[in-house]
Symmetry: C3
Amino acid sequence: MFENILENVREKTPIIHTITNYVTVNDCANIILAAGGSPTMSDSIYEVEDITSISNALVINIGTLNEELVQSMIKAGKKANKLGHPVVLDPVGVGASAFRTKFIFDLLKEVNFSVIRGNISEIKTVYKGRGTTKGVDADDKDAVSDDNIDEVLVYIKDLSRKTGAIIAVTGAIDIVASSEKAYIIRNGHPLMTKVTGTGCMLTTVIGSFCGGNKENILEATAAAVSAMGLCGELAYNKLEKVGGGTSTYRTYIIDFMSNMNSEILNGGAKVEIR
Amino acid sequence: MFENILENVREKTPIIHTITNYVTVNDCANIILAAGGSPTMSDSIYEVEDITSISNALVINIGTLNEELVQSMIKAGKKANKLGHPVVLDPVGVGASAFRTKFIFDLLKEVNFSVIRGNISEIKTVYKGRGTTKGVDADDKDAVSDDNIDEVLVYIKDLSRKTGAIIAVTGAIDIVASSEKAYIIRNGHPLMTKVTGTGCMLTTVIGSFCGGNKENILEATAAAVSAMGLCGELAYNKLEKVGGGTSTYRTYIIDFMSNMNSEILNGGAKVEIR
Amino acid sequence: MFENILENVREKTPIIHTITNYVTVNDCANIILAAGGSPTMSDSIYEVEDITSISNALVINIGTLNEELVQSMIKAGKKANKLGHPVVLDPVGVGASAFRTKFIFDLLKEVNFSVIRGNISEIKTVYKGRGTTKGVDADDKDAVSDDNIDEVLVYIKDLSRKTGAIIAVTGAIDIVASSEKAYIIRNGHPLMTKVTGTGCMLTTVIGSFCGGNKENILEATAAAVSAMGLCGELAYNKLEKVGGGTSTYRTYIIDFMSNMNSEILNGGAKVEIR
């Protein structure tokens, strides 16, 4: 299914300029390396344009947003747009504060994104301009299920049409959609919600996969989402065997990304196209 | 001994607004999840009030204090007080710089804390207004022992009376005290001092336990201190069996928190009440 | 070969004031503890002088440089110079932005360094005032090999003469040199490049070893470089046996540092003096 996507990343080793939160940044850097990219974290307004210029993709994550990051993210985003680099947005916790919500809409006016990835509550907030949120977690009543997936797909595709970005919604069921085509992905494991930053990590894996496949953003994003979920499954299976808790689980998730190859990915991907 | 404390956390999944240092923040987020809470790290002055408002408890840790955090901590603390949320303080390294020491006293004037947790040198500095410190570690000559514990208890209880906060002093022997009642806790392992942030992590576990048990702060804090120490013991026992060093040990500590339950906790707690 | 170097660190437990990036800071703190030091991370301009004053060595790493860190690094560096503390510089990504490059030269004018450690592209940029770089990784065409090592040694020794600092260049072959004497070190494993921050961690290990051996900076630095590479080898051997990926590998690297002793170090060191 995902032909050459992973091989392209490993072969090109794209440099991923990542402006992100200080909570999960180390795991993000390590999983970029595990995926086959090269992480470069830099957020000073004095250098973000220089750093973006030597990179192959840009990831913006607002997990610990502040006034200075606001400026740097816009500056880097515009530069990446000018250079034609894939730009990936993780609107962490949008809706949780007026500051975050306002910034996301300012950012969407200033920067064109290739991919926007969030949980369903975050994506709904981006779509509707307001939303409910439980901090950085999705609100349970928003959850995507087999019952509501058709309605969800309608507005996800509409959001893609309006923003020009591929939309990736992750949760028990993941959706990766353009305005016309959607991948429904059923990889992953519930224990992933007990490790901080699995969402942030996925966003940087998407950045890495897109950085190595810039002509094929939709499929690269779907492959990244499926690969991350599969790592969650494989890590859980190993954890069941050897024993341990959520910190060992975190280690195994990144381990399996570093050992991922196309055979494992295509053998384990649970993907349906609508 | 600790009836329903842990169950309440796991059932309510309290959101823990954590304003902390960038050194150990990831471990703090992961151990909050492991304990049963939901971590939300956010420190921008533009949003801390919004974030505190959707949370159930606030943790303030001054490990990497700077001028902006000073403002955010006071703002978030006042808001949490207004909302009646438990507020937990970790005065990391107080006494190591004039800036930290001054800030802690400003903070204590502006914000009412439910719990203050530190090593003995930090707590002594908070009590006496000055102190010796070896960076972020306690000064050996301050250490709590069976010889001096009675005198220590006198001023710990007095500090609790003066601040209105439960005081948690951790080291080889831990003390959790109100002005009237003290838990002496003998859980833990010396190797925990070779993992950065075990103190910071404990403070966020206290925040999680208090967030789920806001009517019972003293017992919740004692349970958190005992649980963390017990994780240190169980992790050490496992490390002895399978081999490894301090990084594996860190992983196991968080693992055991994620697998903790009331039976394990009450079976392993080494607690005496005075 | 390295007589008492490690013993001195473990015995003195030097406090290492570390002003570094937020990406790898937790691993740096843990490996300082593993090496036998005591980490103190603090970067506020309001307290860096106080913190340096109670420390035994200073490490400056510009991985996520910004305008405020610029001021703090210079202030702390000058204070450490006044106190006669070893000061170690990691010029991460110098050459990747005009801001970083300019700052490094400003810093070299203001502060005297005991050791400068970088990959070959970074060190070349420090020497020549400009350079090529691939973000935070060395440019392949700069790599030190048996073919070009003699020419490299000439300018490394010249850089040491000009700066007064021991120069540590790490890569497939490592060089630690004063203006007169060079250690060529062949420890390490290629998989270390797939873990973020192995370079940053090494710099803090150098800080720890120098903090415990301030009269013997050249040998302490060579011992640190050899010890870190050896941890990479031992961790790889263990990984081969038990299975896993790059995150487990990271854990093992720090584990082996915590279990390092002079016998293991001198038994495994692959060092040649020229």
